[in-house]
Amino acid sequence: MSIFYFIAFLSILFSVLVISAKNPVHSILYLIITFFTFTVQYILLNAQFLAVVNFIVYMGAILVLFLYTLMLINLNKDSEPVKSNMVKFAAVLGGGCLFVVIMGSLKSLGVSQPVLLKNPDLGLVKNLGKILFNEFLLPFEISSLLLLSAMVGAVLLATKDPKTTT
């Protein structure tokens, strides 16, 4: 039980550090730690497949993409112009208002039951694979189309257009 609160505290701490770090490289490194705490949460929920996918996709692929883009852009100087304090205050106020609204609606829910695992192999690869390839076969195939179109779009966007540059 106390593991959950410790990991939750770590993920909140590091996500605050993500948005408050001056250097974008530090921001990305804090983001890696935040994603790792989420992976630990998935393991605590016994969602092993999601833990592995989260580890590979987020901490492997997405973070490498971020770091590569940062390297291409060469932003590792601390020269980001900061917003004025007025805008910052308004932003924190807006986010705080969102949080208060969610908490208000949560409060009307009353006391909740503890999260219990009824079926121990719920999040295992065997069980999820059966559901994914029976009920969700068509969305699965469509998501492959989505990944293909995203790849084509990214290559098209990131390459230089020879007609306009020359």
Binding site: M1, Q41, V53, I62, I73, P139
Partner: protein, 109 residues
């Protein structure tokens, strides 16, 4: 693995909702507070991740594996979104030599 799960058994569902909404609000504040386009993008990733965690918690709570399949689809979508979004950021940098979003005010009314 199951013994590991038994440590989390007494956590109420409300605490998962609390954690996810805190992380989501931090992501919203990050989008509003920063001017670097890449950091804004990372805040969006933070919001996506908090939603994933909440879907998984609901899925375990209800004993229904459909929520975890949804999380899988969200992860595939996030990968596609990051690829396209970072390509757009690279293109913006090539055209304006900066990733400061205040430079990109041509669509502003």
């Amino acid at each position: 693995m199951e013994s590991l799960f038994n440590t989390v058994k007494s956590v109420p569902l409300n605490h998962y909702i609390l954690l996810s909404s805190i992380i989501f609000s931090i992501g919203v504040i990050g989008v509003l507070i920063r001017r670097n386009a890449i950091v804004i993008f990372m805040s969006v990733e933070l919001m996506l991740n908090s939603v994933n965690l909440l879907l998984t918690a609901f899925s375990v709570y209800r004993g229904d594996a459909t929520g975890q399949v949804f999380v899988f689809f969200i992860m595939a979508l996030a990968a596609a979104e990051v690829a396209v979004g970072l390509a757009i950021i690279v293109m913006i940098y090539r055209n304006t030599n900066s990733v400061d979003i205040n430079v990109l005010n041509r669509l502003k009314w």
